[in-house]
Assembly symmetry: C2
Homo-oligomer: 409 residues x 2
Amino acid sequence: MIDIIKNIATAPRRTKASVIRELLKITNKPGIISFAGGLPDPELFPYDFVTDAVKEIMAKKGRTALQYGPTDGLPELKEEFIKFLKQYEGIDVKPENLIITTASQQALDMVGRLFIDASDPVLVEKPSYMGALQVFKSYGCEFIGVKLEDDGVSTEELEEKLRWLRSQDEHYKFLYLVPDFQNPSGVTLSEEKRRKVIALSEKYDVAVIEDSPYRQIRFEGKEPKMLYRLDKETHNTDNIISLFTFSKTFAPGLRLGVILAHPQIVKKMEILKQSLDLCSSSLNQLIAAEFLRTGYFGKHIAVVKESYKAKKDTMVAALEKYMPEGVTWTRPEGGLFLWLRLPEDMSADDMFAEAIKENVAYVIGSAFYSDGSGNNTMRLNFSYPTTGEIEEGIKRLATAVKKRLVAAK
Amino acid sequence: MIDIIKNIATAPRRTKASVIRELLKITNKPGIISFAGGLPDPELFPYDFVTDAVKEIMAKKGRTALQYGPTDGLPELKEEFIKFLKQYEGIDVKPENLIITTASQQALDMVGRLFIDASDPVLVEKPSYMGALQVFKSYGCEFIGVKLEDDGVSTEELEEKLRWLRSQDEHYKFLYLVPDFQNPSGVTLSEEKRRKVIALSEKYDVAVIEDSPYRQIRFEGKEPKMLYRLDKETHNTDNIISLFTFSKTFAPGLRLGVILAHPQIVKKMEILKQSLDLCSSSLNQLIAAEFLRTGYFGKHIAVVKESYKAKKDTMVAALEKYMPEGVTWTRPEGGLFLWLRLPEDMSADDMFAEAIKENVAYVIGSAFYSDGSGNNTMRLNFSYPTTGEIEEGIKRLATAVKKRLVAAK
């Protein structure tokens, strides 16, 4: 061990390696069908569009593309994103409501840095997105988990927890939600509950982080309004901070996301971002602006939705065909993930090695629980594997489950 | 004021807006000749290279370019950077010594996050790079300033400070240096002093951050070896953490940098980066890899050096021609900046408004001092303005100085 290692501070000791990123190293082995990642399907990436866009950008806006840009983002991208919000979400905003981020992981870091002091409680769904739990934890927060139901977070339990936190004079700062096709569960928060969440946000003066990476990938069912929009239409609390990313609707390789919030929040975020990375890639921002401006975005999303729906349907059909009784799963109306529950007394953690033996991988559900529960659950990704791999992979997974059921008898 | 603003944590309250970024908003006014920024000359950006490289990348490596990449960086870029280090710096390293960052501002954030707990002392040059001071301060450190001399940081004062810190049982963690063409002063640390710094690093178990954004832009004089290399050749402390960026040698719009350190440090940095932004842009990493692989880097640097040398010479000549007695400046052998000292009793801060009236701008030197001193100094950038603007801008600046001298009499 080198000497200076002993000098590391508290934050890195609190920052744990992502279970997913570590898992991915195992599951990249040849022969394994992996439902573990959360990758978009690379078959669908708009390669020709990127080539053409870069050629055009270098010819007309090269000086902007290769130079430092403003910390809050290039006006070109903000302008197109404002049009996108209007057209797709019925949300009217100004440039000062937006800050461009180095994808939504940076947005999550900025949320954590903006609000969390060590020992502050942070309200999260149970289960919740691991990447968010990881970064919030690095700031030393305590998690207050709220049960996730089939129509989203339990607003009753949420109010109970908020009431308790207030009575304890705790410095609770925000509630973190993935309202659409939640990662990991695939569950969507109903519009009725969205209204309740906003009312609670007003009553308890608590910010709501609306993390929305998958919302545009809805392939069936009715879309509830975004929390940000509902707040404007009802309580107008200005407590909603919405996070968007181009990773699922365009390409993760660009590392671009957007935060939508009150200008006072955006201003604070801008100062934080100065110290984090000065600005996000100008080149990539201009590519994303072109993606929106030319209408390529709409066409691309249509293709993505059709493909992911077919994959989701294949996965659900294979689960119905192969899984033994006692195993249940969600039927997401969009997004990239499905959530599987083994019988209560079975551990998906313990079964992982056996699944790998069968050449199939998943993410253990307990990794998404802030309190280490959820042992009998797992997350299955359907966007990355082909339909053939999905069919075969679920068959293998069912074999692993059945072997374990037999062994337990 | 919105309600949730009152909930912000300690770190954002400690994070102050960058004086430079705020200044740049003023100095972008038409008609002003600005020496305030730190921008590379956009005339020199390799536009055609980027167009061609992206076309090639989309055809052959599109799936890698648009997808998530490994947190520590794409092997393609690491491989080329290893060759670069060997060829240009005589440094032999392995991939596990490197982590790709979202440019060097992120590297500075990672250094701060890795080492600093609130109230920890951090050793910096006086003056030092403002972007580093800003992010280290956001982690709540106390600065211990060490005098900068014409051949770099005073190693005598450094030892004095280290001895004192040790005697106080302080948790001092690292010394932050910009050894080559320092920002803001343009000063280079001599090889003799580099050896002393390494010896002190060993004696006092303190990490040395070798921030090296300008090193490749040396247009005259003899190049001292990098601290990282000297350490390997002498003490082998493994205490040196070297930071590189593509912002000055290629294009800031890509947001790419590299940290070179012991694998144990790199591993810690990797876990931090998982929570900061997961990975840097894969597309941009492949563009940078091509830039190195094709040898375009070497050709580009030759052009940059020739241009910046001409601009530096123009600035020095104009200073000699126009500045009144009592004003002095550094003569940097490379980089982007020159440091100007007014007579001791004159304030560059106070003179700023008058300079703006003369339609010329600079960065006040005091912004680079961790203790607010350096009032009579300013930083002048020569990479961005044209030679014509440099001549005219220095003339205007001299007018402002002379007017102030007259007024003081």
